[in-house]
Amino acid sequence: MADKRITIQATRYDPDKDERPRLQSYEIPFSDDSMVVLDALNYIKSEVDGSLSYRWSCRMGICGSCGMMVNGTPKLTCNAFLRDYWPRPVVVEPLNNFPVIRDLVIDMDDFMHKLKAIKPWIIRRQEIPLGAGEHRQTNEQIDDFRQFSQCINCMLCYAACPVYGLNNEFLGPAAIALARRYNLDSRDQGLKQRLPVIADNEGVWECSFVGECSVVCPKGVDPAKAIQQTKLDTTMRFVLPYGNRD
């Protein structure tokens, strides 16, 4: 076991020197079956090549920082076990569909703007005074949106979405799933503020239901479901009498 080794091929890109990203191979000890791809990157960073750049934080699938392409599939590297790839080499690349800043670090500005556009917070027409007590919800009301509230903004769904890859004006899976999360929340009254963004041409109607966003989601959010249900709901609002009510 002590002699077991694994090859990691990581993307390197220095914007001051390189025209395009390239792969660099590192052979590292695979000392423990519980090692994940992020452990391998951390080993390279601390023991082999300190210049390797990548994002990470919690190491437990909560923060959504360490999303990368692992052998061509968007994964949280803290949740991608080396034992599932060994003895083949593991190719680690930055998330598809985003500009690359350096090595494995992508520019997430586009996603952050889209996230802000759908106003992912509870909107009230009139705030309830704190003294009035908590705003209670039943279990059934929470169940309506619970699945969509699990999103950790890891952007794996954007990396898996060919629609976003071909047209980055598309609002995208996570932003729409989060919009639905708040629209379904019984405490929220912001649907009319979000509709112009989510029901726009570049909103839900740009999606052609590839479904890969839901396949790669590490938290089981199912953004494809959120998008298709939003299509149905916005159509019903348009078609049904009194459908445009709040």
Binding site: Y13, P15, R20, V215, K225, Q228
Partner: protein, 133 residues
């Protein structure tokens, strides 16, 4: 803007490769699903032509029945069945009903869709055979 203004850092712009749909089984099946509408649309256009010709009267009407057209029709039927299957399977994801404050299981919705499809097919088949007699 001052001369001290810093240039934005140079980023590598990612481009979708032309063969993206061959890189993943799901992408491939998605493209097949989308492509199936092309032969279906062509076949329906031909149906419109046939209907127009039928309107000219029974004496001048002879339906197109070459072997090539029969083969094309069979392929179109397979594509139509595949497209319908994927559409109705996905309907369970899209449609969300609540009965007695509980969401209806998606499997039940899908089964209901397939049952309706079967009933509609029998009714349409019956009507066509009835009028063809």
């Amino acid at each position: 803007m001052t001369t001290e203004a810093q240039a934005a850092p140079r980023e590598y712009r990612w481009r979708m490769p032309a063969n993206w749909w061959t890189r993943n089984r799901h992408y491939f099946l998605y493209v097949v699903r989308e492509f199936t509408v092309v032969p279906i649309a062509l076949w329906l256009l031909w149906l419109l032509v046939e209907i127009k010709r039928a309107g000219d009267g029974p004496a001048r009407y002879s339906p197109h029945g070459s072997a090539a057209f029969v083969v094309f029709s069979v392929i179109t039927l397979v594509f139509a069945l595949y497209h319908s299957y994927t559409f109705l399977s996905l309907a369970g994801v899209i449609i969300h009903f609540k009965v007695l404050d509980r969401p209806l299981p998606s499997r039940l919705i899908v089964l209901a869709q397939f049952a309706l499809w079967a009933v509609a097919s029998v009714v349409v088949g019956f009507v066509l055979i009835w009028f063809a007699r």
